[in-house]
């Protein structure tokens, strides 16, 4: 058995410490050690996007990041999107647009879409499609997901201080 490593990282705004084996992926650490099971595994090789999280503001597929690499990093997962009881505009839009069926891809899409809107508040349809192309959804055909991202973008633009809430 490999010796475990001590990792400190900020996860959804809280400093967390945990022990992990060097071979454990960040995805495993989030799910199995920290019990943040909102982040899903669909392929474990970087090709489905269900494990997408933000690492220091950058989108990563957490199955391709080793746990120890998260040392000192700031991680945002789907569990970190809502502000207390208030849903993020993307979460609300996904519900209103019926942008999920089974919902297993949803956490990855929400985190990826948040990263897009953080950078580009008014993306075109084509830009949204390009940005989300690393996230596979087998249920929806993407139509309602794209519309939900458009709705959230419009809502954020309309809300005073919308950008600050992101």
């Amino acid at each position: 058995m490999q010796k475990k490593m001590h990792v400190t990282a900020t996860i959804n705004g809280e400093v967390q410490e945990f022990l992990c084996e060097p071979r454990q992926s960040l995805l495993e650490c989030l799910r199995d050690i920290l019990h943040l099971t909102g982040t899903k595994e669909g392929c474990n090789d970087g090709n489905c996007g269900s494990c997408t999280v933000l690492m220091d503001g950058r989108l990563v597929t957490s199955c391709l990041v080793l746990g120890p690499e998260a040392s000192g990093a700031e991680i945002v997962t789907v569990e970190g999107l809502a502000r207390g009881r208030e849903l993020h505009p993307l979460q609300k839009a996904f519900l209103e647009q019926a942008a999920l069926q089974c919902g297993v891809c949803t956490p990855g899409f929400l985190v990826a879409a948040k990263a897009l809107l953080d950078r580009e508040p008014q993306p075109s349809e084509q830009r949204i499609r390009w940005w989300l192309a690393n996230n596979l959804c087998r249920c929806t055909g993407y139509d309602k997901i794209v519309r939900a991202v458009q709705q959230a973008a419009a809502e954020l633009a309309a809300t005073q201080g919308g950008m600050n809430r992101l």
Binding site: G38, Q91, Q101, V104, T140, R147
Partner: protein
Amino acid sequence: MSTQSYQVIGTRPIRHDGVDKVTGRALYGADIQMAGLLHGAILRSPHAHARIRSINTSKAEALAGVKAVVTAADFPPTGDRIVDLGEGETPLSYIRGNILASGKVLYRGHAVAAVAATSPHIAAEAASLIEVEYEPLPCVLTAPEAMRPGAPLLHEDLKTKEFGQQTDRVSNIAEHFRHSLGDLEKGFAEADIVLEREFHTATVHQGYIEPHNATALWNNDGRLLIWCSTQGAFVVRDTTACILDLPVSQVKVTPMEIGGGFGGKIPVYLEPVAALLSKKTGRPVKIVMSRKEVFEGTGPTPGSFIRIKIGAKRDGRFTAAQADLAYEAGAYPGAMVGAGAMTVFAAYDIPNVTIDGYDVVVNKPSTAAYRAPGATNAAFATETVVDEIAEHLGLDPLDLRLKNAAKEGTRRADGLKYRRIGCVEVLEAMKAHPHYRAPLEGANRGRGVAIGYWFNAGLPSSCTISVNADGSVTLVEGSTDIGGTRTSVAMQAAEVLGIPAGSVHPVVVDTDSVGFTAVTGGSRTTFATGWAAYEAAQDVLRQMKERAAKLWGLEPSAVRFEGGHFRASGHEISFAELAARLAETGGPVVGRATVNPRGVGGSFAGCIVDVEVDPETGKTSILRFTSIQDAGRAIHPSYVEGQMQGGSVQGIGWALNEEYFMGPDGEMRNSSLLDYRMPTALDLPMIDTQIVEVPNPGHPFGVRGVGEANIVPPPAAIANAIYRAVGVRMRRLPMSPPNLMQELWKKS
């Protein structure tokens, strides 16, 4: 009832499980954590066909952290018998043999042994230490190959069933059946034009994003507890009980949230294995498949070889049609070719028909249902031949279809006579759709249409509804919710009770907590479980009328329920007000119902597609796509549209990219989501939808299932569009760049 206006049905409430699913709180099968949990891993065959000479597990057992190893030898010796566990009659030995191989492995990826250890990494390491000695055998990978006399045999004892009779012929053909109607020869003799074409379709996977998983705890009281991702908790219960030789009541299955299924999460793969490992260790054991295991070890949908012959008069009237359907079942019989035969000419009224179906075993994973299983392959063939006939006769392809469209009273060759169906309405909606008449300009662009059918399923469902003092109700059901059915079922109860959808709290429960409920499959949940909810709600109303009568000192028959209120002359009380007074009128009210409905309504779906082909690369792009489907009655239109969009896009992937790319050794060469190319957001335009509503007379609200028919027409419609774009008729799926270039080169 279908013409009346509804309060809840047809609206678009937020789904009840929505918040949990956008916040990451919803618990899927792989999310289970529990004290003492062990992790399982499965060793799979590296050969497509081989005899197992020996299995040595000692090195694996010696690895630190390993707690148990099991093989097929650990199954109780139940012998063989025929069982029906929800997918038709099957020998138990086939189901068991697919879960853990004994004697022979029949496909690459066939499970051979399993390990439980303290971490998934140790379990995987240990699995690789199991030594299996194989004697490799020659393999067969396609139906035509496997049907050839002298082909290597998968099952030395498999005797062909022919026309319903057991023969003595040992072969890879498990079954050959025939449906006949009228006089085929006479029909073809009457035709002015007869076209005969051959088609090949590749094996494709359902591609759900969540891999299979199961957790089992063989408890100290002898009961086996299972948590898993399944389309049918009762199928898992019954199959596991059967294989482990337990009474069904000793197994309790809790269906967790499920990350997609499309038919592929009906069969049982992991649960009995996790159970055996738990039995040996006394601890809970969780097994989660990798993506590669999902591709190599679970059921894809059959590849197929199809021959279609259709004869027509000059005016377009079809006089005769013939189909030969040879479907690859994979390692064990059951290729859904029966469904292919039921759907191949389902859209048409043809007087003279013969359909031959062949269920053929090959050295590929044992196939499972995939959204209208068998129908997409068949429609690809039929609908491209129909398009060719329209071209030869100079007819509009939709007019030709309308001329021959099946309607109420049409008899199919497999014997069924249609009740009210919406084939004509769907075709007319396609014709009237602005997309059909919109100009399409530019080189290498073309438009295609096609129609498809799925018959849908009934089967049993159970439901209870208890009334809460605050005027809401709790609805308990056994149908796992894959795409919003908690809500579409709850809405039907809400409609009956005159309360908002949000006042119904639907819960999907374990097999101990609700009556038997068949799988979420066959597009049956909104239809059948929705019907159970309707009946349970009626039961609630009946009991509540008694309570109102008691309050008012009247006979229950004097009480009416209308507009959300109980009324009798001079009296009125709302549902919520009466709900608050149950304690004083006799105690709780619980409505219950079980149904096994017969009035299943099949659904037709059509699509219109515009494509552009790049003649340099053979890549086809979808420019515009419209899906039109008969929902009977759309309970929650957003989720009906979602089914249409999702099915259409799966059809597009099947049409253009997806295939098991097999080496001659039976190895799948593209077993990752990078190489097995499913459509991404960037590959697609918006998917327009139009819901047609021809109410199903067999359901109280007119519901037909909508989950499946939508996947059926896209490959044919795209093939027809490609023909209009670049002048080649594609008769092989997928119509991937290499396959399309072949045809373009042949033409030039």
